[in-house]
C-alpha cells in the first residue's frame, strides 16, 4: 500500500514523514521518531502503556492510526518536562514509589498529567477512576494514587503562591 505524507507536531516540534496509513501512532512515535517512552502492553486498548496526549486528549496510541494523527499535536512522556529535569508528577512518582519496573510509568504519568489539567484537585476516588485506563502489574496502584495526589497538592500550592 502506498505511503502518505504525515505532518504532526510532536513535543512541540513539527515533524513530517512518510508512513503507511495503517501504521499505528505508537509505532510512528517509537520506530520513526525514536520516542520509546510510550510502550505497547496489550495491543487492544486495555492497558494504557501507550498513552500519549493528542490534541488535548489522553489517547491510547496503539489504537490510533498514524493517518488519524495527521495534523495533530502529540505530547509524549519525553515532552512533559525540560530535558534533564523531572516535572512535579515525575518527581512525585519517584518520591512516593509510584513505579517499579517502569514499563507502565510513561503512560501512567502522561495520563495523570491530563487528569490534573482537567481536575486539578481530585479526590482519591477521582484519581482511581481517572487512572482506570492504565494498568500496572507491579505497584498495586496505592503509591501511584498517592503520587498523583501529592503532585496535585504541590501544583496547587505553587499556583497559590504565584497568585
Amino acid at each position: 500500500m502506498s505511503k502518505m505524507q504525515i505532518k504532526l507536531t510532536v513535543n512541540g516540534r513539527e515533524r513530517e514523514l512518510l508512513a503507511e496509513p495503517r501504521e499505528l501512532l505508537i509505532h510512528l512515535l517509537r520506530e520513526e521518531l525514536n520516542l520509546t517512552g510510550p510502550h505497547i502492553g496489550c495491543d487492544t486498548s486495555h492497558c494504557g502503556a501507550c498513552t500519549v496526549e493528542m490534541d488535548g486528549k489522553s489517547v491510547k496510541s496503539c489504537t490510533v492510526f498514524a493517518a488519524q494523527a495527521n495534523g495533530a499535536e502529540v505530547t509524549t512522556i519525553e515532552g512533559l518536562a525540560e530535558p534533564g529535569s523531572l516535572n512535579v508528577l515525575q518527581s512525585a512518582f519517584r518520591e512516593h514509589h509510584g513505579l517499579q519496573c517502569g514499563f507502565c510509568t510513561p503512560g501512567m504519568i502522561t495520563r495523570a498529567h491530563r487528569l490534573l489539567q482537567e481536575n486539578p484537585d481530585p479526590s482519591e476516588e477521582e484519581v482511581r477512576f481517572g487512572m482506570a485506563g492504565n494498568l500496572c502489574r507491579c505497584t498495586g496502584y496505592q503509591n501511584i494514587v498517592k503520587s498523583i495526589l501529592a503532585a496535585a497538592t504541590e501544583l496547587n500550592a505553587a499556583k497559590e503562591a504565584a497568585e
Binding site: 503507511e20 498513552t51 486528549k57 496503539c62 490510533v64 492510526f65 493517518a67 495527521n70 482506570a132 485506563g133
Partner: protein, 284 residues
Amino acid sequence: MIPGAFEYYRPRGVEDAIAILQQHGDDARVMAGGHSLIPMMKLRMADVPHLIDLQDIASLKGITVSAGQVTLGAMVTQHELINSAELREAAPVLRETALQIADPQVRYCGTIGGNVANGDPGNDMPALMQCLDAEFTLVGPNGSRAIKAREFYEAAYMTGREDDEILTAIRFDVSGAGYAYEKQKRKIGDYATAAAAVLLTRENGMCTGASVALTNLSDVPVWSQAAGAALEGTDCNDAAIKAAVKAALAEADPTEDNRGPVAFKLHVAGIIIERAIRTAWQRA
C-alpha cells in the same frame, strides 16, 4: 498486532464520505472513534480495504439543546457527553451512562455515533437510545431519513443502516423524567454482564411514563414495552417493580460467555433492572 493495509480517506463532508462508500461497497467502512474497529483490524478479524475517517466532518460534531430537543452529532465523544454542562441539565442519564463506558482514554475517542451505529450488543448507548426513544438520522445517496432507535437493531452488528449510509445525528426529547443507567461489569473496560436504562415520569406520586431498556442481554438492545407498562399507572411499589422486572426479563435472551452462564445473567439482570427502577423513581 498489526492491521492489514488499507486506503485511508478523510473526507470533509458527509456527501464525500457517502461517495466513497458507494464506490467501494462492502470493502469500505466508516470509522468514528475507532476503538471497536481498530482492535478488530489489529486482530485481523476485520479486513477494511477502504477506511473512511469521519473526524474532519464538521457537521457531525456538536451538542445542541433547543426547543425541548437534544441533538447530538454522531462524532460527539463520550468525553464530551460527560463534560457538557447543558447536557447534564437536559439529559443527565447520558453522562451517567457514558461514565460507565470503557475507560477515560477510550472515552476521549469513542463517539456516540460509533457506539449506536456499530450494532454490538455490548455497547451501552443503544439501549439508552431506545429508552429515550431517540431517533437516528441516516444520510445516504438518496438523502436523509430518520429511524427510531427502537426499530434500528436487527441482530448482532446488523442494523437498519444500509451499507452506503452514515448515521449522522441522534435526536431525542428533553424529559424531566427520573433516570438511571445501572450496569454490572467485571472490571473497568468490560462490556456489561447486564445493564439497564430506565426513565420514569412521576406525577402526584404516580408513574405516568416509563421506559425500560437492556444492554447485552440479547443480540440486540431490548426495549421492553411491557416492563414500562407494568410501571405506568402505579406508584412503583414492590409488586409493580416485580412485574416490570419479570416483563423485561421475558424479553431478554442472553448467551453464555466468559461473564457467566445464562441463568446467572438473567438473575443479575433482574437485580440490575430493579435497582435502575428504584433509582430512577427516587430521582423522578
